[in-house]
């Protein structure tokens, strides 16, 4: 019995979500009185670093073919390792690739499967985990009844702590099927944190009146080191790119801080942002429904407030 966590390393680097998954695996293993083993697939420079976040051992499958993502090949590799180490809990991140793998590995292992969990297993009465349902409007508590369990962890659910030092790394090669899919291109934005992983987000909506006014939002984001986002109407009219759209049909985010300027807060928008730890709403309409979901509100013209907030933040950054 052990816990196996899959630490994604796109382009050879661990993402913050990968470290969260390892740390969560450590917490789950502690609750289950067993060890947390981390798994790395493909080229990675420093697999041992996962020890710092709670892995008692790292298994590194070094086959080059694993550098390109193929759900069939990757899920086969992960299942083989899980069998090898006798894992009965396998943990993924609730990421694009994690979502493609959780179900596959779960079926292979004849497991109970639960995606997007946000709690450590409660073993008092079975194997109970919490996850957010109805697009953040409720939580459900599930009992996972099969002996094997395959789950994925909702991002930003746990604050990572550094625990130990480097872990022992065991390299391994596996007999894997040839991938049926050929990855032609992986195009990702460099330099900014992608929205699903962002801790700080500055977002704006129709109140901006036009795409030419976005300079103040970008400046505020730059000062904060935040990622920019927008509401659905703004993406639909082409003022901003689609990948910035947060909400029910766009990206769901859960940053520590979400600043929304000129967004009224329709229920579909809230469904994508209601897991943010702190919400600041800037809107000149005192009736804007978003104020009800906010921690801090500023009822004024965003064209006055946003630059002023930017100046205040710059001053703060200089002194801290």
């Amino acid at each position: 019995m052990s816990v196996l966590v899959y630490a994604e390393s796109p382009k050879g680097k661990f993402k913050k979500t990968s470290l969260e998954v390892v740390y969560y695996g450590h917490l789950a293993a502690k609750a289950m009185n067993t060890d947390c083993i981390a798994l790395v697939l493909g080229s990675t420079s420093d697999a041992a670093v996962l020890g710092k976040y709670g892995a008692s051992k790292v298994i590194h499958v070094t086959d080059d073919s694993l550098d390109n993502f193929d759900a069939q090949t990757h899920s086969t590799a992960i299942t083989k390792v899980a069998e090898n180490v006798g894992a009965n809990l396998v943990v993924f991140g609730f990421t694009a690739n994690g979502k493609a793998l959780t179900g596959r590995v779960g079926v292979k292992m004849n497991a109970s499967i639960l995606s997007g969990v946000s709690s450590v297993p409660n073993l008092e009465n079975g194997f109970v985990l919490r996850k957010s349902v109805f697009s953040g409007k409720a939580n459900a508590h599930y009992n996972l009844k099969k002996e094997n369990k395959v789950i994925s962890l909702m991002g930003n659910s746990f604050q990572i702590e550094e625990l130990g030092s480097s872990a022992e790394v065991e390299t391994m090669t596996l007999d894997l099927p040839t991938a049926k899919t050929v990855v032609k291109e992986l195009k990702t934005v460099e330099g900014t944190v992608p929205l699903p992983e962002a801790e700080l987000v500055v977002s704006a909506g129709r109140g901006m009146k036009g795409p030419e006014n976005w300079g103040i939002i970008e400046e505020l984001a730059r000062t904060l080191g935040a990622t920019t986002a927008c509401s659905r109407p703004v993406a639909d009219t082409g003022w901003r790119p689609h990948h910035e759209h947060v909400g029910q049909t766009g990206v769901a985010i859960r940053p520590n801080l979400y600043i929304a300027a000129g967004i009224s807060g329709a229920i579909q928008h809230l469904a994508g942002v209601n897991k943010s730890k702190v919400i600041v709403v800037i809107n000149k309409d005192p009736e804007a429904p978003f104020f009800k979901a906010a921690d801090y509100g500023i009822c004024a013209d965003l064209f006055d407030v946003v630059p002023r907030l930017n100046e205040a933040l710059k001053k703060f950054k200089q002194n801290n």
């Binding site: 995606s115 409720a138 009844k145 992986l186 759209h245 104020f291």
Partner: protein
């Protein structure tokens, strides 16, 4: 020979689209029996938007382009018939409903996979996730049961029915892949534009076949113990627009997010 083979595949594409019934996006979520059950009273149900707007419409577009057939499948009780008829009105050719109220994604996936095994399809499409349980799991499970390649969160697909080029959304960008032959795809925004059924479609939908079949296997992997509502915000603190230093102070000292 090669020519004939390619031509054959270009001529038609049979696609199975999985559709789910979900509460509409503005539905008030409440529970009965001390948090044991979801309170469906007064809740309007709709076709899951990712299934309808993107997966179903793109499948219909490909059928219009290449020929073939679009079949929709739903795993659910008779209450699902209303969303199935809507899918037929939008342009699906026929429908099948597996008559069971599933408690887990894996049981749903099992039903879909069994149906695909006994009825050949070139591709299986479904939405990237349902807006009720948000698991994004069924597609991966179906592809595993069928041992097929899987493209999650697809925002573009071009295909001649034999070779397909698919763009997937990944964190901070996209991944473009190619595949030959059958596959499973989950649809994200951008894959197609929403279509509204017209009167002719609605009339025709009434005459299209909707086959009801029994479920197979046991639904024994998960149980929901209880639901609860997340803690609401304790109330908004309004800040003087002239005093942004105060907001920065609160973000730093009170909520500690900067």
């Amino acid at each position: 020979m090669t020519y004939i083979c390619v031509k054959f595949n270009q001529e038609k594409m049979e696609i199975l689209v999985c559709i789910s019934k979900t509460p509409e996006t503005t539905a008030k979520i409440a529970f009965t029996d001390g948090g044991k059950n979801f309170d469906t009273q007064g809740v309007q149900f709709i076709m899951n938007p990712y299934d309808e707007w993107y997966a179903l419409v793109r499948a219909i577009e490909l059928k219009e382009q290449l020929g073939g057939k679009v079949t929709v499948i739903n795993v659910g009780d008779a209450a699902s018939d209303i969303v199935i008829r809507k899918a037929l009105a939008i342009g699906a050719d026929e429908a099948v409903r597996v008559d069971v109220n599933p408690q887990s994604a894996i049981y749903t996936a099992k039903q879909i996979a069994e149906y695909v095994k006994s009825n050949s399809f070139d591709a299986v499409f479904l939405g990237k996730e349902t807006i009720d349980y948000n698991g994004a799991e069924v597609g991966a499970m179906v592809s595993e049961y069928l041992d097929l390649p899987y493209f999650s969160f697809a925002s573009n697909i071009e295909t001649d029915g034999l070779k397909s080029r698919i763009t997937r959304d990944v964190e901070g960008g996209v991944e473009i892949s190619e595949v030959e032959g059958r596959f499973v795809l989950s649809a994200a925004k951008g894959l197609a534009e929403q279509r509204i059924p017209n009167m002719k479609g609605i009339m025709m939908a009434k005459r299209k076949p909707l086959n009801v079949i029994p479920a197979v296997g046991e639904d024994d992997s998960l149980e929901i113990i209880s639901y609860d509502l997340p803690e609401g915000k304790s109330g908004v603190k309004m800040i003087d627009p002239e005093n942004m230093d105060e907001l920065v102070r609160l973000l730093h000292e009170e909520s500690k997010v900067i």
